[in-house]
């Protein structure tokens, strides 16, 4: 009798284990928590009333509707975002994060939903405002030699200047790789902080995403700020902004990829990028 009860218990237990394993296998996503920085206009920013707005906030609503899931957006510091994602604090990152090779070692990315480049900005009164190659775009993927020769031409002008970048941003990597020997680099926690120091004259120029710089220069108080010189994209600067996801969740990646495809196809990305960036950021 005792033996029979034990067997029964064991059976029940194994049934429980099996059923929970089966659940994990085909995990049905009904709720997704998305992290954003809330301080990276026009991708995402906090409005004066405390609510979030921006390209990614609007796009995420579209994507979530398309995936038929309920989404919650949480605000999180950019520099701790990837460890927090892997620690399971949230399920996805939409925060102007470029899918770089280095980041891809740690997390997965959906396909890109927006591709701009990295550019310089300085003050209108600065001698750097008239930098050459204004508005020209260099791809580090297909024309790295051209980019390097353009930078070589700019080096005499940049010699001894101080440049502000956000810590661990692709702009920081760019400056480290190509301009380390001529400029002094200062790293900031947020891009807004390097803008403040640009206005105060503590740094001579900043490097950040083109999209960020154009909106930032249009903000009241930043009238003196202007985008200068060439623009760079591709290569290690990444494939463009993508949704960051944990490595072990291919279902979620497939869901986002499909939703982004739909957003590209029906022109949502184009309309939203015109609204927030003033130019089309649809990745090709």
């Amino acid at each position: 009798m005792k033996y029979a009860i034990l067997t029964l218990k064991a059976l029940l237990l194994s049934a429980l284990v099996f059923s929970s394993a089966a659940q994990a296998e085909g995990k049905k996503w009904t709720q997704i928590t998305i992290a954003t920085e809330g301080a990276f206009k026009p991708y995402n920013f906090t409005k004066p009333d405390g609510t979030l707005d921006g390209y990614e906030i609007e796009l995420s609503k579209y994507l979530c509707d398309h995936m038929k899931v309920e989404c919650k957006i949480v605000v999180q510091d950019f520099d701790g975002m990837i460890p927090a994602l892997n620690a399971g604090k949230f399920d996805a990152i939409m925060s102007g994060m470029s899918a770089t090779a280095k980041r891809e070692q740690i997390i997965d990315f959906s396909q890109s939903y927006g591709s701009t480049g990295q550019a310089f900005a300085t003050l209108k009164s600065s001698p750097l405002a008239g930098m050459e190659f204004k508005g020209e775009v260099f791809s580090l993927a297909s024309n790295e030699a051209g980019a390097i020769s353009a930078l070589e031409e700019l080096k005499p002008l940049l010699q001894g200047k101080t440049i502000g970048v956000q810590t661990a941003s692709t702009g920081a990597t760019f400056v480290e790789k190509y301009l380390k020997d001529v400029v002094e680099v200062r790293e900031y926690k947020t891009t807004e902080q390097h803008d403040l120091d640009l206005a105060a004259g503590r740094v001579d120029l900043v490097m950040a995403s083109m999209a960020y710089l154009t909106t930032s220069a249009a903000k009241p108080g930043n009238e003196e700020m202007t985008v200068a010189g060439p623009r760079f994209q591709g290569g290690f600067l990444g494939k463009g902004s993508s949704v960051g996801l944990r490595k072990n969740e291919p279902e979620l990646k497939a869901m986002f990829d499909k939703a982004i495809d739909a957003a590209k196809a029906d022109g949502t990305i184009k309309t939203l990028s015109q609204k927030w960036f003033g130019f089309d950021v649809t990745p090709l």
Binding site: D79, I82, T167, A168, E187, K189, D197
Partner: protein, 239 residues
């Protein structure tokens, strides 16, 4: 734990120790003078000076150091008027902004510690010094201050330790001290645990040495608490 990575991190962080020590030492030293001044204002008996010192302590002790650093670095630079004063070459530098903020902050806490020390000097000692005919300043220099320092030292040691740790806030205004470098490594490698452990060990070591140092000074300042050293043996054979 990945030991090669931990070792690499350790080497990068060790290179940042001089800046941390420089920030801490400069602000503790400058802060000590300011604190002594504030404590004397509090005890001056002149109401205006007393209230000025009270207000100063109230403001700097009542607001977070982080806010003070932000206001001094990003706040002041917002005013074009500040950017055109002779102070701008100093306020332009993140290093001096950090030193100013840390100094002003520690002075508020330390002034209260020193005031406590000054008040703890037994009245009898001062009376004895007066009776010996010492002028006011000499009483302060020879009797009150040394005794006050001895009384204040344990509390002041605490304040010095918190200043060493407070230098980590300087990383938010682009200074690459130990925490600044640690944050940079973390955002490049996404490995928080190893880096923070190494940074923690570095702060622990600095503070361990600091507490030993305070202990030695305390020992030197309190000979009256120890048994008198034995005199050299009397001459001749005595058993």
């Amino acid at each position: 734990m990945d030991w090669t990575f931990t070792l690499e991190t350790f080497i990068s962080l060790v290179a940042a120790i001089p800046l941390t020590l420089q920030l801490a030492a400069t602000s503790i030293l400058l802060g000590a003078f300011l604190a002594l001044g504030l404590a004397l204002l509090r005890l001056s008996g002149v109401r205006v000076l007393d209230w000025f010192a009270r207000f100063y302590v109230f403001v700097f002790r009542g607001t977070p150091l982080l806010v003070q650093i932000f206001l001094i670095y990003y706040g002041l630079s917002q005013f074009p008027a500040v950017r055109h004063t002779i102070l701008w070459p100093i306020l332009r530098e993140p290093y001096w902004c950090a030193v100013i903020a840390l100094t002003l902050n520690t002075a508020a806490y330390a002034s209260e510690i020193i005031r406590g020390g000054l008040l703890s000097v037994p009245h009898g000692q001062i009376e004895a010094a007066r009776a010996c005919g010492m002028p006011r300043f000499m009483v302060f220099r020879r009797i009150v201050l040394p005794l006050a320092l001895r009384q204040a030292l344990p509390g002041y040691g605490n304040e010095m330790i918190s200043m060493v740790k407070a230098t980590s806030l300087a990383s938010i205004i682009t200074l690459m001290e130990v925490t600044g470098v640690a944050a940079k490594i973390i955002s490049e490698t996404y490995r928080a645990i190893e880096v923070f452990i190494v940074a923690g060990v570095i702060y622990l070591t600095i503070n361990f040495l600091l507490t030993r140092l305070v202990h030695v000074v305390e020992y030197m300042l309190s000979p009256h608490l120890r048994a008198p050293r034995l005199q050299t043996p009397v001459q001749g054979e005595s058993k």
